[in-house]
Symmetry: D2
Subunit: 101 residues, 4 copies
């Protein structure tokens, strides 16, 4: 476990949950459904007008909600987010060659 | 076009949209994002307690919202829902053999 | 229970599930996660190019998958889809007045 | 802009996109639909059996995909992820009092 941002936020979220007796609700499937709900709220901000960006504070709040549930989901499922992202970017580099210049 | 339920509801939804000058907003991607938003609301009803079914009237309303956007999406993309469903069930029957008895 | 399209398809899907010993897997939350998965596949068809409609047969198949899980979800949760949709359209008519002409 | 993990990954993702001529495809709505697609893939891993955790490498890959699109989405919409998350956690602390001990 590093001291990088994802791990620090996960520790903060875990303490936040424990202080509210929430860990029993934080199963993978519960957190996954909560994540789906927050992605839905983000989608609602963008649904009608492709030309009109929604208010930045609303977008920030929904991005935060999705991020919070994603980090919490990774924590309870035991996935190392930093490593998973680094591995996926490395894998994508092998799948998608750079464009010719 | 049959006179079955999906086509009848789609006609009603089209008239509803036209009476409110909404068809210009009812592009495939807009309706798809709206559908995602409604699926998110349905997920929120089920997110915390696997043992406690949410209130039936709330579930009914969210199912209706998802259905309305799905039918409207199929209408503007020109997909025949009845035929698509029948084709998919027939295809699934070839993919998944019946269990032994 | 009417003999309309949603009820007829739900009966067909129930028989299909029973013939494969699937009803034990068809809990509300399982079907909801399956629905989210199919909505994700529909979104993938539309994700990169707003100007280029995806192939109609792919769209039809994903709409069918979403519809199948939505009807099955409504069936196992005991929601009358026809009534829920009719009620929601009636309610929406009170929320959104017709445009001036 | 800090030198924390989200900003560093966002810079890496931006360079990755530029090297492949992808930035023209990375509009907020395109990235949002891609995010929905990846959340759908994550949901598929969990859809049938609440008791059987899916393979860790599959979960890690889908978490990474969701994270990558979420960070990229925040980058192109100009949202500071670190600040948005900190603000939301602080706001949640005011909404949800700690449990009595």
């Amino acid at each position: 476990m590093t001291n990088e941002w994802p791990a620090r936020v996960q520790q903060e979220l875990q303490r936040f949950a424990e202080e509210r007796d929430w860990p029993r609700y934080h199963t993978p499937r519960n957190l996954l459904l909560a994540l789906v709900g927050e992605v839905g709220e983000l989608a609602e901000l963008y649904q009608w007008d492709p030309e009109e960006p929604p208010p930045a504070d609303r977008v920030a709040e929904e991005i935060a909600d999705v991020m919070i549930y994603l980090l919490r989901f990774a924590d309870v499922t035991g996935i190392d987010v930093e490593r998973a992202v680094a591995d996926k970017i490395a894998y994508n580099a092998t799948r998608f060659p750079k464009a010719d210049r």
